[in-house]
């Protein structure tokens, strides 16, 4: 050891120790920036679609084109390009399709708005239907039917007298309006 270390024993040990620590720190720092870069590559790739296996993101896919495109993203990030620049680069080559979140365009309007339009239409329809049903159930009981129903059900007439009476008058009204236009 003394032959190649020009310093005295203790100094030499310290110098070697220091060198080892320095190498260790440098190695860790390198691994750190590598994993940081990799995380950024994956972040960008999450927003892009794999063109071969179309329901996967570029980050999830193991297709060879996806591997190539991730390498391209890595290279561009290492050159200091922003995620937006990388996305533009991909869109210029592969079109909007490469974006996992479709952008707002005239051509994608139906895609974005369609489900909400359908939902609102369905709600309006259900609302109208329910309102109509409330009206019709109130109007279908005429006094004879109510009385017969009471009889069959064995309910004493006094219990339903009030509600039945109201419905009966409505029913009578209804029949009168309905029969007005008919030749008798």
């Amino acid at each position: 050891m003394r032959r190649w270390c020009a310093l005295s024993g203790l100094m030499c040990q310290r110098a070697i120790g220091g060198l080892i620590v320095l190498l260790f720190v440098l190695h860790n720092a390198q691994a750190d920036t590598d994993s940081q870069l990799e995380a950024r590559v994956m972040q960008v790739a999450e927003g892009l679609r794999c063109l071969v296996c179309q329901n996967e993101t570029l980050a999830a896919s193991q297709a060879s084109l996806a591997v190539d495109l991730r390498a391209q993203i890595r290279g561009m990030l290492a050159q200091g390009q922003s995620p937006e620049e990388i996305r533009d680069y991909m869109v210029a080559r592969y079109g909007d399709y490469v974006l996992y979140r479709p952008p707002w365009r005239a051509s994608t309007l139906l895609l974005w708005v369609g489900p909400f339009v359908l939902l609102i239409a369905a709600l309006v329809w259900v609302g109208r239907h329910l309102r109509k049903r409330v009206n019709t159930t109130a109007a279908t009981l005429d006094p004879e039917t109510a009385a017969r129903a009471d009889e069959w059900l064995g309910v004493p007439p006094s219990v339903t007298r009030e509600a039945g009476g109201k419905a009966a008058s409505q029913g009578a009204e209804h029949r009168r309006t309905a029969s007005r236009g008919l030749p008798s």
């Binding site: 071969v52 080559r93 239409a121």
Partner: protein, 185 residues
């Protein structure tokens, strides 16, 4: 009377409208099923051919760029010896090359030159030149996402058509040759 009319009209209109919307949606889905989701539209149609500077398979010392091909209509066919669909479309290109309509260039995509040479030796070489894209970078620039793909470039160096997947004699007859006739020699 007016009120009665309104009541009579609304229950008839709504189900019809909903069924109409449903039929429309089903039609849209059916069209989606038929329209081959693997064929993506290219944003490069109508744009200048992306630049490259590549060696050719036959003469590695010679570099070729799109600029060298200006002033003529030409076809770029992306192929590889490992690609089975390329093997499928190959006879159609060999036949096409015999007709000598326009020059056919190959882009040998992510292939080993020796494999590519052997493949051309076995099945015939319809290409004026095959450009060597060993790492697939030129393929990325052209938006290639699978092999084979075919591009038609006009005299101004603008991409006019892209065909994804193997070319068949029908596609050549019905799509590619009529387009070439429109673009002129």
């Amino acid at each position: 009377m007016k009120l009665a009319l309104g009541h009579a009209a609304s229950p008839r209109i709504w189900p019809v409208a909903l069924i109409g919307a449903l039929v429309l949606l089903l039609g849209l889905l059916a069209a989606g099923l038929r329209s081959g989701p693997r064929e993506l539209p290219s944003p490069l149609i109508g744009k200048p051919a992306p630049a490259f500077q590549l060696q050719t398979l036959q003469s590695p010392q010679r570099m070729l760029t799109p600029h060298d091909l200006r002033g003529q209509v030409w076809i770029l066919n992306v192929w590889a010896s490992w690609c089975t669909a390329c093997r499928e479309e190959h006879p159609a290109w060999v036949d096409f090359a015999k007709s000598q309509r326009v020059p056919l260039y190959g882009l040998n995509y992510k292939d080993k030159p020796e494999d590519a040479m052997r493949w051309l030796g076995n099945f015939g070489n319809p290409y004026v030149h095959s450009l060597v894209d060993g790492d697939g970078r030129t393929g990325i620039d052209w938006g290639v996402y699978g092999v084979p793909e075919t591009f038609i470039i006009d005299r101004e160096g603008v991409i006019r058509h892209r065909q994804v997947g193997p070319v068949t004699p029908q596609i050549l007859r019905d799509t590619i040759i009529p387009l070439l006739q429109r673009l002129g020699p």
